[in-house]
Point group: C2
Chain length 160, copies 2
Amino acid sequence: MYRIGELAKTCGINTDTLRFYEKHGLLAPSKRTVSGYRVYSADDAARLQFILRAKAVGFSLSEIADLLSIELDKANWACSDVKTMVDDKLLQVKQRIAELERFRRSLQILSDTCCGGPASAEHCSILQALESCDVSRSERLLDKETHTHHHAPVQGDCKC
Amino acid sequence: MYRIGELAKTCGINTDTLRFYEKHGLLAPSKRTVSGYRVYSADDAARLQFILRAKAVGFSLSEIADLLSIELDKANWACSDVKTMVDDKLLQVKQRIAELERFRRSLQILSDTCCGGPASAEHCSILQALESCDVSRSERLLDKETHTHHHAPVQGDCKC
DNA sequence: CTTGACCTTGGATTAAACTCCAAGGTTTAT
DNA sequence: ATAAACCTTGGAGTTTAATCCAAGGTCAAG
């Protein structure tokens, strides 16, 4: 059992954020003290964890609310509804992962192509690659480099 | 060479968004017509692609601006500065991928555990799992299921 | 030479997701 | 029994990222 301040602290968020989530139907404390203080159970805390993870992963609060809303009105949902919705989100997550992987590869290539040395970046290929977003060019450059010499670029051996 | 409307259309965004990005230093057209119309080059378009990809992947406009700002003032940046910044973003991307993978696994387990049948979701394990976010419980359930019988749940054989 | 589809600017408005504030009630430690 | 540290509500303010609007300029087609 946590009071709002404790829960907020352990989750690294603001108490106002918790009240905000409550107002928007994402998470209500399962109890109140006689004096009206919010009291959160372990289940409430777990639910918050889910919300925070979903948020960290790029879902909007209303999307998260969609996922959680099922619960409010269980009897009126069929298993198929639930599965459809979850599978839908699952697809979105997979697509997001794929997009992130593409972005990661681009950045990796940019990083690998640059020596990281103290020279001015004025003619640095990393910038040219970013500028034109022409990753294939960087890939060719890097590929050549790998075949002829070594993989990790060294100080002073920069393509800048 | 594109005018603002064309570029916006091909990229699936609003012309106002392009003007907004310009105002905030993310993307300026490399030319203007005599009459003041914006004219975007292929490089400008590529830069926009980069911005849109970075955005899709969860970076804020100011983070993207950071990455792109290097370019505005090339001579005053060393290769090491550039590499540091890119490696920094790279780490963020990797962490985001890891978080997404964890989320994906949770959703996958939830999906696998539910039959998707027409029965009421009133007692559906998918909901219980979401509620408590107790994925390990679902994992155990699913594991047992897999060992004893079959992997893909069938209509009418739901743990609801 | 005008109609319709473009474009310009500056400023207002929106939506999401907080974050802060004021005025007051509650708890706990000394 | 009183200060410090909590909590309550309602409402206002902030930030980010657009999106919309008004008043007017440009341009190709008929």
